[in-house]
């Protein structure tokens, strides 16, 4: 390929505030249509917008995470057009003065860090949901007015892979900042892309093609890769690239022409006269930024330094923000950080994966996990017992100490009996006491192992350990 792809991405993110952007209706993922609607959402004459403080705070958090210059005065504009899903006949957005400008995001390409420039970030509102049937369409106004954050990159992405990494990074940022669940599958994150190609080394932009209907991050990469190929083939065969909008077909894995772009739609933007300019104080902006939950990069740094987790384990735990939060909670109750990490990865995650659940569904108190990890780490119980106790803890959400006691009741702690077993081992291995006194602590473990073997793991390790050490020291 002697062509360079020039790609820009426009992403819309649904903000997880409790109420909508301009209306006070609840902002929930309610399934029953037209039950999360207020007067403004129906565009009744005389209704007026009221700007949601939390939506502004969350937009500031993202703008800050993207290293953008934040505008301390908020203005809104009207974007005027007619469409079935647009109740007012205009959308309130920020055209002239977006809340954030000129930022960037870092992605890793071929082992090197690359900065992707972000042109702007602004707040606006969502439209109705449309359900299409063969001969009619149904409108659900629940989604109308939900807060959106729009992020527009500069055309600095150069491949489907870069675009994918960019969107993954965005998702990571918005989920960790607790601004959105960033799921393309349920529409809380939507991407449109535009792509043109040009010969390497040239500056002039080629004809731009817009691609829509991208329903997953994988689709974004596939669609762009396809487009690069398609446009290159066109140009190589002497045909022009037509300026148009194409949609990605998931089954065919190709882009298909939707409509040829004629003139750009004229949105007749003008300042929204029902919302006065809103002046944000420095304190407001600083507080919005300060109260932002820890973002991924900072978390990763902390997990690998404070908890001294290795990079691989840390990244596994951080792959889900809620899981990282759960780890942090557990870490309040134990200092055995690496064992905790291992335990969560090996045991907790495996249960979740098996039952197709996420950590949000895991109802066990973090404290109990930590107690269990400590019991294992201090060898007060063995791994077998650990598994048994873990199962009970998961089932009943009670402290493992309770179950250990119960198990302990079935553990052999009769000192006379244990002593007799120890004596047997020492008789068969007379050098052990001398080894132990000489500093070979392996001797202790050996005796313990033998006794465990003989009792099928049923001896109380605390009692046994105490006696073993006593005997070895004689």
């Amino acid at each position: 390929m002697n062509f360079e792809a020039v790609i820009g991405l426009e992403t819309h993110i649904e903000t997880n505030t409790k109420s909508k952007m301009f209306s006070t209706a609840p902002n929930t993922a309610e399934l029953e249509p037209n039950t999360q609607v207020q007067l403004l959402d129906m565009a009744y004459p005389g209704t007026m917008p009221r700007v949601n403080k939390e939506a502004v705070r969350k937009a500031i958090r993202i703008a800050n995470a993207l290293h953008m210059t934040i505008d301390s005065t908020i203005y809104f504009d009207r974007k005027n057009y007619f469409y079935s899903d647009l109740p007012k006949g205009y959308q309130i957005t920020q055209q002239a003065r977006p809340i954030g400008r000129e930022g960037y995001v870092e992605i890793e390409v071929d082992g090197k860090k690359k900065r992707i420039g972000i042109e702007r970030i602004h707040m606006e509102e969502d439209t109705c949901k449309q359900l299409h049937f063969s001969s009619y369409t149904l409108l659900d106004y629940n989604r109308a007015g939900v807060p959106l954050i729009e992020i527009v990159t500069k055309p600095e992405l150069r491949s489907g892979e870069e675009a994918r990494k960019y969107v993954e990074k965005l998702r990571e940022i918005v989920t960790f900042a607790d601004v959105s669940d960033g799921k393309m599958e349920n529409g809380s994150m939507r991407c449109d892309t535009n792509i043109s190609i040009r010969p390497y080394g040239t500056e002039k932009f080629g004809t731009k093609v817009e691609v829509k209907n991208l329903n997953s991050i994988a689709d974004i990469e596939k669609a762009l890769d396809y487009e690069v190929k398609r446009q290159s083939e066109l140009l190589l065969s002497g045909q022009p690239v037509i300026q148009e909008t194409r949609r990605f077909d998931e089954t065919k894995k190709e882009t298909i022409s939707m409509r040829v772009k004629t003139d750009a739609v004229d949105y007749k933007y003008f300042t929204e006269p029902n919302i006065p300019p809103i002046q944000l104080s420095d304190e407001f902006i600083i507080d919005a930024i300060k109260t932002c939950p820890e973002l991924y990069d900072a978390k990763l740094a902390r997990f690998t330094s404070s908890y001294a987790l290795n990079d691989v384990d840390a990244k596994i735990i951080l792959s889900d923000r809620a899981l990282a939060d759960y780890y942090d909670e557990c870490a309040k109750f134990t200092k055995a950080y690496q064992p905790l990490g291992n335990f969560i990865i090996s045991n907790v995650l495996s249960i979740l994966n098996r039952e197709n659940k996420t950590i949000i569904d895991f109802k066990v108190e973090p404290k109990y996990i930590s107690e269990l990890v400590d019991l294992l780490d201090s060898k007060q119980i063995n791994s077998n017992q650990g598994k048994q106790i873990f199962d009970k803890v998961v089932k009943e959400n009670k402290s493992p100490l309770i179950f250990k006691k119960e198990l302990g009741a079935t553990l052999i702690n009769d000192e006379k009996l244990i002593l007799s077993m120890i004596d047997e081992v020492l008789k068969a291995n007379p050098s052990l006491p001398a080894d132990f006194k000489a500093g070979k602590t392996r001797a202790q473990g050996f005796v313990m192992g033998q006794i465990m073997k003989k009792t099928q793991g049923k001896v109380d390790p605390q009692v046994a350990n105490k006696l073993i050490v006593e005997e070895l020291n004689k």
């Binding site: 700007v51 403080k53 809103i278």
Partner: protein
């Protein structure tokens, strides 16, 4: 600025999703020419192009933002009450392509 003729006006009307009678377009064209000459008066004002466009009558900047507290939503029946075409608890339109 685009030159104004009946075709331009008809196109503008259609983009607003309505149409008018021929007489109305004629009246509109007349009005346009009157408005045009009146707008030329604005052009005569010294310094008008250097001025900043004014949206609000005076500085009405606020610091107020609404707290993120959801209100009780409208009852579904009320949402649909005024709509003439309703099905399955939603407003019905011909298929939108």
């Amino acid at each position: 600025m685009k030159a104004v003729n009946k075709a331009v006006l008809k196109d503008a009307a259609n983009r607003l999703l309505f149409d008018m009678s021929d007489e109305q377009y004629d009246m509109l064209l007349d009005e346009f020419h009157i408005i045009q000459s009146q707008l030329d008066l604005i052009g005569k004002i010294k310094g008008v192009d250097e001025a900043t466009p004014m949206t609000f009558p005076f500085d009405c900047t606020v610091t107020f933002l609404r707290e993120d507290n959801p209100s009780t939503p409208l009852k579904k029946e009320d949402v649909l009450k005024n709509a003439k075409n309703v099905q399955d608890g939603q407003i019905k339109l011909p298929k939108v392509v």
